[in-house]
């Protein structure tokens, strides 16, 4: 082996790579340096900030603890991270176009994960989103509510309290080491949205009701590995689906499957705050083994003349003892409500249930703008 040859090859390649690296470093300093950029939010100096240009807007906002909902981790595939950019973002990129409607484009709505912070930006972010925070939590209690559903109670550590309106949801981050251990491993961050099932008065805790989805990434983790005493992080609260507390109309709540969670939060909150509003609560499940949050409601219906409770089990097998309704929930609503025109309605559950209930309620004279729903 000729040592000289070996050395000269290494020197040639090394030298060439070195020279190119040097050129690129200089170029990076002068071309790819965007300096300090000002990100103006709602013209409010309290939340506006300055940052080094070059990164994408979603991450720049996340660094400032402004959490825009996003499910794909900034790859431009989920289309959730929409933000109104009033100035400075340039024209709409081809990677954004498939997620933006024409109304979005007219309102300067953009995908924050695709926008690079290259110059000063002017954003408009709704106040609810600015209230979103990241919480470090301790898993305080895991309780099996039914054969495939768990109640997960999280104690908030930092910050120690959350202010939310019943019906809103939080995102639960799946820990990275679990994602990397999976076969095949997942490298991008994964978080999943769950409605808050607890009440605003318990400001130090957040409860989720999580049903095991076959092959679900997050639900599998929650059901098999998560243990009491573990630490997790959540962000929230998010969502336009929440209890309108400035009205005094009678309320219809309909929850199906694990859509019971926000309904639980809404109903419990109403009676915590000694509401004078009439509340009709419809819960649809398949079988007796799926039913939870039942005894509480039966007791409440016996105590409060304002509260009516209509559970229905639509997939009942023979041999189970059940004297209540056995129809699909929209048929139960149809039977129980004569006139819905003065009411306000909150729906949460699978899309097919929601569509059926909305059609039923519209027939009963409920105007569409007073139907609030959360499909999942």
């Amino acid at each position: 082996m000729d040592l000289g040859l070996l050395l000269s090859s290494a020197a040639v390649l090394g030298g060439l790579a070195g020279i190119l690296a040097l050129i690129l470093i200089v170029a990076d300093k002068y071309i790819a340096d965007y300096g300090v950029c000002k990100v103006d939010i709602n013209r409010d100096p309290g939340v506006s900030f300055e940052c080094r240009g070059g990164g994408n807007l979603l991450m720049a906002l996340a660094e400032r603890k402004i959490f825009i909902p996003s499910a794909c981790g900034g790859q431009g595939t989920c289309g959730y991270c929409k933000v109104e950019v009033r100035a400075g973002a340039g024209s709409v990129l081809p990677t954004e176009r498939m997620h933006l409607t024409r109304a979005d484009i007219r309102r300067n709505v953009r995908l924050s994960c695709q926008i690079k912070v290259k110059n000063d930006l002017e954003l408009h972010i709704p106040a609810e989103l600015l209230a979103v925070q990241e919480f470090a939590c301790l898993v305080e209690k895991l309780e099996a509510l039914s054969h495939d559903t768990k109640l997960v109670r999280l104690k908030l550590l930092e910050p120690a309290a959350i202010a939310f309106t019943p019906g809103q949801y939080c995102q639960l981050n799946v820990p990275r080491d679990y994602l990397l251990r999976r076969v095949p491993p997942i490298f991008e961050p994964i978080f999943r949205a769950y409605s808050i099932a607890s009440m605003p008065k318990d400001e130090g805790i957040v409860e989720f009701i999580i049903r095991l989805v076959p092959d679900g990434i997050c639900t599998t983790w929650v059901h098999t590995l998560l243990a009491e005493g573990d630490r997790v992080t959540i962000t929230g609260p998010y969502g336009e689906f929440y209890l309108r507390e400035d009205s005094d109309r009678p309320i219809i709540c309909v929850g199906g499957g694990s859509g019971v969670a926000p309904v639980r939060s809404i109903v419990e909150h109403l009676f915590d705050t000694r509401t004078q509003r009439k509340v009709d609560c419809f819960i649809g499940q398949r079988a007796l083994r799926d039913l939870y949050w039942h005894r509480e409601n039966v007791a409440r219906a016996a105590h409060h003349k304002n509260f009516r409770y209509f559970p229905s089990l639509s997939g009942l097998q023979g041999g189970e003892e059940w004297e209540g309704e056995t129809d699909f929930i929209h048929l139960v609503v149809d039977k129980a409500i004569a006139d819905a025109s003065d009411k306000e309605c909150y729906l949460c559950g699978p899309p097919i249930m929601i569509d059926a209930v909305i059609a039923t309620l519209k027939d009963k004279g409920l105007p569409e703008e007073r139907i609030y729903f959360d499909k999942f």
Partner: protein
């Protein structure tokens, strides 16, 4: 060094010895990025820039460094490193100047690194032992040739969008048929100019 004027080489590289339509190099991005004319213009310009600079830098590196040291067999890795460095530079410039073009080109911009048209023109240039000016003309001509071909195809594809294509040929099928027809037209010039 063959006795051919650099101007002849420049002309020949664009028309009679087009790197894409005669040698069939650089086909993947040719098919992938020829959806619209503006995108094709952008990628064509980027490829032209990289090919000129690669030719200009590659020839001295090969003849002044590799040949005297007897390291000609390192040519592949040396050219690839050179091309990679230049592409990185072009990407920085495009990202800075046009976010739209950057998003349109997407992954095909960094993929110029392994664009066989550019490595191919380097290898032709050294195996035909071109002088410096000839190499420069060959690099520029090949780049412009690729540019012309990709923009022409993009123009045709924009028109095809309004024509009735048999369902079996929609998309990639008709594109390859069109590219083949273009190649046949360019091959009509084959042998008109000797460049080696």
């Amino acid at each position: 060094m063959p006795d051919v004027s650099p101007f002849v080489i420049l002309f020949a590289a664009v028309f009679t010895n087009n790197i894409l339509l005669v040698y069939f190099l650089g086909m993947c991005s040719f098919i992938a990025v020829s959806n619209t004319v503006p995108t094709a213009l952008g990628l064509g310009a980027a490829v032209t820039f990289v090919s000129v600079l690669t030719a200009a830098a590659g020839r001295p590196v090969y003849h002044r460094v590799l040949v005297p040291l007897g390291l000609e067999y390192l040519q592949f890795i040396v050219f690839i490193v050179l091309i990679a460095g230049l592409v990185q530079f072009v990407e920085m410039v495009i990202e800075r100047t046009s976010q739209t073009l950057h998003a349109n080109l997407g992954i095909f911009l960094p993929l110029i690194t392994v664009n066989c048209a550019i490595l191919g023109l380097c290898l032709f240039m050294v195996s035909w032992s071109y002088g410096f000016l000839q190499s420069l003309a060959w690099g520029a001509g090949s780049g412009v040739g690729w540019f012309v071909a990709v923009v022409a195809l993009a123009g045709l594809r924009q028109k095809i969008r309004f024509s009735k294509v048999p369902p079996a040929l929609e998309g990639a099928g008709i594109t390859i048929v069109v590219a083949g027809t273009m190649a046949m037209a360019f091959m009509g010039f084959a042998g008109m100019v000797a460049i080696r």
